[in-house]
Amino acid sequence: MGRACLSPLTKADTTMENHFDVIVIGGGAAGLTAGIYLSRAKVNTLILNEGAVGGQMVLTHEIANYPGVENISGYELARNMKSQALNFGCKIRSNVKITSLALEDEIKKVTVNNKDVFTSNAVIIATGGKSRAIGAPGEDSFKGTGISYCATCDGDFFQDKEIIVVGGGNSALEEAVSLTRYASKVTIVHQFDYFQALEHYIEDAKNNEKINFVMESEIIEFIGDEKLRSVKIKNKSNGEISQKNIDGVFIFIGYVPNTESLEGIIELNKFKEILVDKDLMTNIPGVFAAGDSIQKKYRQVTTAVADGTIAALSAAEYVNNLKKEKTEPAVV
């Protein structure tokens, strides 16, 4: 999301066509669920999404623990949710750029692509998260030519090659083990002297003879020409820098919430996660938040779906109360 700013609402902005009961920002599991619930309840709803619909869900090849569905790809689950929302009458605009947000007033205003203005009585923020990048020089240049964030997508390009996996959580260790099906050698580079992953992931990695570990270290530079050739690794305990020739680097160092543009507008914690109450309302009345961008411990499709449901029901109640206030005569 682009940097949002507060901007005044003019009368011309609130046309019938562009006004909704609720605008949902984000089209991942939380946002689509909110869209399904709201539209089914005949609450006029628009989902605005900056990327492809499905969010982080699309990044999961196989979901085997979604209750009631034995096995489904993240893409298919996302596609089903999108179609369910559309069938209930939800409007969805994807691949838009949100250029301004005005949330303080009773009528909320969202501007996309610097020109189209949408207004609503309530907003649900479900902007999700994104893969954390290392931020070292060369990282952007070698994406797709040696650097990958998806083992199942790109693992087979590294048949009999030597690779590095960066990270120490569940994803890093699980993917390191899966990458040994292709790679001749996998080196796990991790910034701490311990892993944050669950014990069985650690055991699996330690018991795999193709995997070795470089602890308390980080990659500080990616080097190559038309493709990645080597990396510079810094040992964090003694400051020593070494250069290692490598064919590929897979990066799994967690996720960061997509809340940069909300700083100064909505209350966030020190991890930039949105603070919400039990109804998933933020510090601004009528502005709710759901999914991976809020403060919480567990980030799963199921928890995002639960958040989307709660935020939708809360937003619907908020909008209904607003409408009642406007139609009921004031008690003197």
Binding site: H61, N95, G144, C153
Partner: protein, 114 residues
């Protein structure tokens, strides 16, 4: 066959016909994977905005996809999808791995005048 709403290029012959019959062509060669799907989705949306460009996909694992896999422009690629942009049958740009709609639009605008 890829589950998209794009034109599917199923053979080397179809690939050649597509290039012969269209001045500007964008082909996304991939699988139904997380790095590929957002690119297909962007292309499906851009199809309505760029009438002068033919948008298509091709299954990366089909034998005939060697027309893309073996391109010299893709020789250093190690991330799906491989996306190739053609003007008058010649490759003008190729990218590897996921690209945002903005990045794709930038390439289209730079290489194919509307």
């Amino acid at each position: 066959m890829l589950r998209t709403n794009l034109k599917h290029v199923l053979s080397e012959k179809e690939h050649s016909e597509l290039l012969n019959n269209n001045e500007n062509v964008m082909i996304c060669c991939g699988r139904m994977g997380p790095m590929c799907i957002p690119v297909y989705e962007s292309m499906e949306e851009l199809e309505g905005e760029y009438n002068n460009i033919k948008f298509a996909d091709m299954e990366f694992d089909s034998p005939d996809a060697k027309v893309i896999r073996d391109l010299p422009e893709c020789s250093s690629f190690a991330g799906l999808p491989f996306v190739v942009y053609y003007k008058n049958g010649k490759v003008v740009k190729a990218t590897s791995s996921i690209q945002s709609r903005d990045q794709i639009t930038e390439i289209l605008d730079a290489n194919f005048s509307k």
